[in-house]
Symmetry: D2
Subunit: 391 residues, 4 copies
């Protein structure tokens, strides 16, 4: 066994043993063979947890043709998947051109079913002209769902189940998974304490709610900045200080963004930060903190530790940026990301939605749609059973 | 001044001074006179907080013709309202026939605008044949909203804004108002401690979420029984023990129902309760605990204290029932109900929705509809300002 | 049965049924008869929970001669106790002279054992010259313990176990009992909401810790003012805002004192309060808020509701005082005080300490001393068993 | 600059910038020169945070002669310290004999002042016969304090301030520092979620209190096993399930020990664990989990991930052990240990106690003693100031 393959095997062992929902799906799929004769084309992060999902699909009879996202592909996992007979395109150091070519390769393989991320495969299949041969697919992200309903509206003749619209994901992954992993990551990267510290959470969507809740649970003083009045109202009754970001800039010590919007921490806010302030982002895109401005304004920039950069401003203040403004719960040394249980849940949504598409596409409408309610109920029940919630 | 009037005046003084949203609306209405020349017909609990709402409407130029709900009318408040020139029908000891006649009297007064509760006035106006003369109205309850959309569908030619559909109410009044007041009432009535005690909350809607949250906040061990899998999933991730009511019956010490459904604690559950169990209901209708069964099954029933009844069962167990299974946060000596802030919020939703109906009914569709989004945003902002949420 | 006696019987029924530790002690004492032939002299609040304690002592063979504290004696409870054959002096409306005479009557009855409060009986027995005939006693309060160790040092030839020194009481009664009942009382009296409101707790002893914890648990924003740096440090790590009272005066909406010291909220603090501020005291003595200053400074004083007074100051601010600055958890309509479980615990400390004094005084040193460790362990175990803490 | 030195410098940069209390002490010491002409002998973990403490002592004029604990010495930190002119003995791979020889070297250097750990230096100085030349010292650990008061009682002619006896350390480092870092480490190592999971914490001392509190704060269901009835009582009122470890063995999913006692999780408990149980230790010594028994009983042992070992038992159950039963908050990839603030606090206690010993030993008694109260107050105030607790 190659060293790379060995490493990939080692890194999935614990994970596989702690994803009970996928393990059960694997046993069922092995029996039911829902994907027998089907080719599933996939575009999703190629990391250890995803590998477990792909194994489950393969156990259900699928031929898997996969590629990763640009920049996040882990070579040992690629080696592991290839060793099981899957076709996998991509490597960690791929250029953006190579990545585009990988996606094209998946489309050229003429998959029957798509496991999509950002609607890249759906768009490619439509552009390639053989969308009619696709049975259906799933889409992981909200932004992919928007693209399907907007840019690709009316052009996708097959059903696409949008996983991220499910309340199970909103609560299980965004609120609790992200909430927990962001607080864990901030502690791990900075080694600072939470109790008594002043945190500003920008955005009170599902992620922001989770982050604020977990910070306060650890004894942090938490303020919320939210432009939507109804969410701000909810935050206030949840007991948080609620205010404008500009105003809270002078109060906070840590700032964590989870808004989905660009440049939330821009020049105006940065101008009012106190020396020593620490900035981190939890939103999907690395644009919520205006790092370009920070970098341009700084008289000196220094790397203090893994994922910790210090910006000295001409006025004498020093500002700390974590993880270069990228998702903080995926950063630093040995990042873990969302909990295994949260991923197990999200991937069971994927697996059973793909089965529905494969076996009952006729009962679904074409285009983007939510996870069927009966599947959500089934998955909630299984999650409760796995958790032993009644003890 | 009569003694009754004096009492009504005394009981509203503190309340009026702590409802800042209504106080501001009163000043605005006094200037804008949105109800000038309008007669508002009302059917709602006649108690001190409602009196403050009616004063606000009168300040806006309305002629008020009002009656209460059966059995909850407070005579001192009636005296107070009459002293300000309003027409008020009803008394505490009214029979159900008298109450029906009071509602009929309000309808006969030909109101232009309805402030309705359970859609009684809307149904009466439709039946009376002069629905065309009504400009519009508001409906306080969800069940009234259902009646408008179902039984009265297509028959109501004027707009009715359903207050209870607002998320502001769900969060402000159901989650936090009811959550807080139920826990306060259980403590006040029983004088028992919360920390370390075992509570079962039946139902994980907005009220149930609030009750579970506030009980756990005080150190209670809380289990949730919820038949909807998705809500049960949410409860489990919120950290509660989640199980069947029948199974939890043997574990719990306190049981609080907030499901909206009848006989949730029925013979099967009662059969499995441990001796000493305490039962209370927080749902709107007094039907969630099967008190008839309890009464029939008991070998002895004794009143231990205000709102505390003990049922001795033939097998030796004794079960305690609070408030006869009626809403526990309105029971016992000196019940207070939801907080002044929660009511201030709910009544501002009423006041501004009534103004919208009075001044811009043409912009609204006929029949039941939610609170206009712009009003919700405005009210959320005002609530935040009143709270000083930014400190 | 007289009406008064009937009322006393009714008011103790629920209470007696929910004090399982005392109920078990009663059964044991009935068998062991530790007080056979003994006369116990008592000076303690004569209210329903105390009545249950006295019944337990009587069941153990004691002849009980009792009086209450000045101003808190409840006549129905006196009637109830007398109906069981106890000698009880005192009535609600006693003058201070009558009260002193009642205490003297207890001393004249030559009790063998003292159940004391503030060391009044111990001092009286010493002054009367027949301290030698006393076997021993218990003292409820810390201030009584100080008096025994200070003013009466060396003069008390018998052992006195000081109940309030026990950590079981500090945690069970001060932290959790008082913490819970203060928050419940503030809600019941004011009908205001807790979440999002700004509270200042003065003092971070056991009571202050409990009050702050329970307020925050309900979503309140809580600041702590504490002059002892070590306690202030603890409060800060517990996640509270920590500052000077004068500084916090401008921030807070509610102020609750639990310091033990006089005039904590004095002219300086009052001068900086925001209009609308609400003041309450949880400390034993009604001196923590300088109500005399408030009354003198006000241009108008009005009673807004039971236990709610409003002071209009010449500068236009209005300040609200709850319960006249007396213990807020014993005030308002239908006050309940500490939970039955907290009192059950405290009174079991009393009962078993009295038994130790009665049966094994020779093993104790003369003068003030803590509850024997073996009794504390026994009582902790019984409390855990009664709570069913293992479920 | 050597690579090792470079690495040591890089690893202390962030840490030094976030220990404000030590930074201020450094400035003061540079001015006051309390250690001018003094040689400080040290035996303590040689890792980045300790390096910052030693720099502060050197800034105060001390000549530093240091060695580490066996097995934990970090070579880059040794390089860094040597580069500043300190005499440092030891390397990561030292045998136990080499370590003993290092300690002897420190003693042979005839230090005036001792910074001790486990009383090794004090014992060595006494044995060497020149204890009279030592001015005084500090001792980091409780077990060192016990040794001084027991084995070395009467033999130590100089004052030794025992840092770990301070309530500032108990609360700041044990409760909050360890509580936070244990939960962070369990999440980082296992990548499992906390909410809804069942945890058993063995021991309810300061560490156990912190661990239980932080686990519950994150939504875990927490039970406490504690043999001391008074602490068990406290845990029950804090709202935890309280029971015997043997009984809880069948309920829990995670078990974390913090008792200080050996073999708390021994054969009896292991026999009752459910398959899938995860064991971790937070106590100082790696003896609380009987890993020898586990290893002997297992039919197979496999390493699943860094710090994760799986034991397959012959009866089919599999048990997971974290960090080989060593302190879990110092284990796994990139362990961080207690927060910088907790260490900053503990090391300021060290620094100012050493200054007191150096400048005012005459005012101290010989032998073990607590941190002087005035220093504790001063440090609490500084910590509050650094935290900005009043915001």
């Amino acid at each position: 066994m190659s060293e790379l393959l060995e490493k990939g095997a080692a890194r999935t062992r614990w994970i596989r043993s702690r994803m009970p929902l996928l393990a059960a799906a694997r046993r069922e799929f092995a029996e039911r063979q829902p994907f027998a004769g089907r080719r599933i084309g996939m575009s999703l992060h190629l990391e250890p947890k995803t590998a477990v999902l792909l194994e489950v699909l393969a156990a259900g009879g699928a031929e898997v043709v996969a590629t990763g996202n640009h920049g996040s592909t882990q070579d040992d996992i690629v080696a592991l998947l290839r060793s099981t007979g899957m076709t996998v395109f991509g490597a960690r150091d791929d250029t953006i051109e190579q990545h585009m070519s990988n996606v094209a390769s998946v489309i050229e393989a003429k998959p029957d079913i798509l496991l999509d991320n950002g609607a890249d495969l759906a768009a490619g299949v439509v552009a390639s002209g053989h969308a009619e041969s696709v049975v259906g697919g799933t889409e992981e992200t909200t932004s992919g769902g928007i693209r399907l309903r907007d840019e690709l509206a009316g052009q996708v003749p097959f059903p696409v189940i949008v996983i991220n619209d499910s309340m199970l994901k909103a609560i299980g992954e965004n609120r609790h998974g992200v909430g927990q992993s962001v607080v864990e990551s901030v502690m791990r990267i900075t080694n600072l304490m939470i109790p008594g510290r002043r945190f500003v959470v920008a955005g009170y969507g599902w992620c922001g709610r989770g982050i604020a809740q977990y910070l306060r649970a650890f004894g942090g003083k938490v303020a919320v900045a939210e432009v939507d009045e109804l969410k701000a109202f909810e935050a206030a009754l949840d007991g948080y200080r609620v205010g404008d970001l500009a105003q809270l800039a002078e109060w906070g010590e840590f700032f964590i963004t989870a808004t989905g919007a660009p440049n939330v921490i821009g020049p105006d806010v940065i101008a009012r930060l106190q020396g020593g302030a620490i900035l981190a982002n939890a939103g999907h895109f690395p644009w919520e903190i205006d790092t370009a401005h920070l970098r341009a304004a700084a008289s000196a920039v220094s790397q203090l530790d893994a994922a910790i950069e210090r910006f000295d401003l001409p006025d004498g203040r020093e500002i700390t940026l974590l993880a270069e403004g990228r998702m903080v719960n995926l950063a630093g040394r040995e990042p873990k990301g969302n909990s295994l249980e949260a991923m197990d849940l999200g991937f069971l949504l994927q697996a059973l939605s793909l089965e529905r598409v494969a076996t009952a596409a006729a009962g679904l409408v074409p285009g983007a749609q939510p996870v069927p309610r009966d599947l959500e109920r089934l998955i909630a029940r299984r999650f409760l059973d796995a958790l032993g919630a009644d003890r």
